[in-house]
């Protein structure tokens, strides 16, 4: 309001360049109670009315907020969030069936893994027996030194070195044969091993043949095991 009055004064001073207007301005500023002009009275009254209206609106909004808060109180209780319809017995039973199916699948996977690893596969059994036989043999030690390491394939890949090439077959008498070949390496040389074992009547593995083909430092071929069946002259 004061800014508007001052702006009006400035416009009046800017419009007129007479001393009479300046004298009138000084007269108005000198006394503390200026005479109100007729054209300023209606502008001041709507401003005051606006302020009173805003106050009334604030009060009404406060009352509305209180009413809303009062109305929301009963619905915030947790007892109103319980669902109307409980889960049926059939639905719960189906959930337990799904859980049991998942556990069954996990058990089957675990059994498959253990069957392959804990109960060792046949090729690793034959490989272990053949490697132990070779490591304990003096003829091989003399040629390639000690200790002797065995691995499946000549490669830098870990999986390839751990995989033993093998062949499993059953002969006409129903006896199971497992044939493996792997590599051996010692401090002084290396070689390749060909071994075959069969499961005898007493359910133990026996060598059909165990051939060590030494390739370095010098070529040699050693037959450590060769199966000779028992001879009966009556047959």
């Amino acid at each position: 309001m004061f800014r508007r009055i001052l702006s009006h004064h400035r416009t009046l001073s800017a419009c007129a360049h007479n001393a009479t207007t300046r004298s009138l301005a000084t007269r108005r500023h000198a006394p503390n109670v200026p005479p109100p002009p007729s054209f300023l009275i209606p502008r001041s009254r709507p401003l005051s009315s606006k302020t009173s209206q805003s106050n009334e609106a604030a009060e009404s909004s406060n009352k509305a907020k209180k009413d809303v808060a009062n109305v929301e109180d009963p619905f915030s209780a947790p007892t109103y969030n319980i669902p109307e319809k409980p889960v049926t017995f059939v639905e719960g039973a189906s959930y337990s069936v799904v859980i049991l199916a998942g556990l069954g699948i996990a058990a089957a996977a675990g059994y498959a893994v253990f069957k392959e690893l804990i109960f060792q596969p046949k090729e690793y059994k034959i490989y272990n027996k053949a490697l132990k036989r070779i490591q304990d043999d003096g003829q091989v030690r003399v040629r390639i030194g000690f200790p002797i390491t065995g691995y499946g394939q000549e490669s830098r890949n870990r999986a390839a070195r751990q995989r033993i090439p093998h062949r499993v077959w059953t002969d006409e008498e129903g006896v199971e044969h497992v044939e493996v070949n792997f590599y051996i390496r010692g401090p002084h040389g290396h070689g390749k091993v060909f071994a075959e074992m069969f499961k005898g009547t007493d359910n133990e593995w026996k060598f059909t043949y165990l051939i060590v083909e030494i390739r370095a430092p010098s070529t040699a071929q050693i037959i450590l095991e060769s199966y000779i069946p028992s001879y009966s002259p009556t047959k």
Partner: protein
């Protein structure tokens, strides 16, 4: 020891190879994972910038952790190969357990034992899956393997078989020829050599 073929022993050079390979796997996998995660978590309009920023922040860290794990695993695996003088899946399982336990040793023995068990089970699953896959692939050809063993039989047995199956000789020869070529191509199994009985 001076022979050049001795240098084909993978350990201990394989440890460095595995560190590099593991870092590569971790960096590439971590980049892909965090790119998608950044795309999902960024606001609309800034998705690509957010994704590239997430990759730049997290991919080296994931690669580093993979390299640590791979290096330790390879070191333990080489230690097992040296101790046992044998290469089979048990080396990997023990190395996985040792790696898990070693990396969690800072958190106490209980957490270390738990991580070791988890590492061992994880590697056991991986090795078991590999063995089963290998068995499944090799099981696709049962007949050529069986037919391969008939030619090495003695001549008397062959004549005996020929006497029983008069018209089967041609089929056997055809299948053996086909199976021979198949086995040579598909399998890496070598037949035992003919032994020469020279004086040792």
């Amino acid at each position: 020891m001076g022979t050049p073929e001795t240098s084909r022993e993978p350990c201990p050079d394989r440890i460095l190879d595995d560190i590099g390979g593991a870092f590569g796997m971790g960096a590439v996998g971590g980049s892909a994972f965090h790119f998608l995660k950044g795309l999902y978590n960024s606001p609309k309009g800034d998705r690509f910038v957010g994704a590239t920023q997430a990759v730049r922040l997290n991919a080296p860290r994931v690669g580093g952790s993979f390299a640590v794990w791979g290096g330790l695993f390879s070191a333990f695996d080489c230690t097992m190969v040296y101790a046992r003088q044998k290469e089979d899946p048990w080396n990997s399982i023990v190395a996985g357990a040792a790696t898990g336990g070693f990396l969690s040793m800072r958190q106490g023995l209980g957490a270390s034992a738990r991580s070791a068990a988890f590492g061992g089970v994880l590697l056991a699953l991986i090795e078991g899956a590999g063995i089963m896959l290998n068995k499944f692939l090799s099981a696709q050809q049962p007949m050529p393997m069986i037919m391969d063993e008939l030619p090495p039989q003695s001549s008397t047995e062959q004549s005996w078989l020929g006497g029983w199956f008069g018209g089967g000789n041609k089929e056997e020869t055809a299948t053996t020829a086909g199976s021979g070529s198949e086995t040579k191509i598909l399998e890496s199994f070598d037949a035992p050599p003919v032994p020469n009985f020279e004086y040792k």
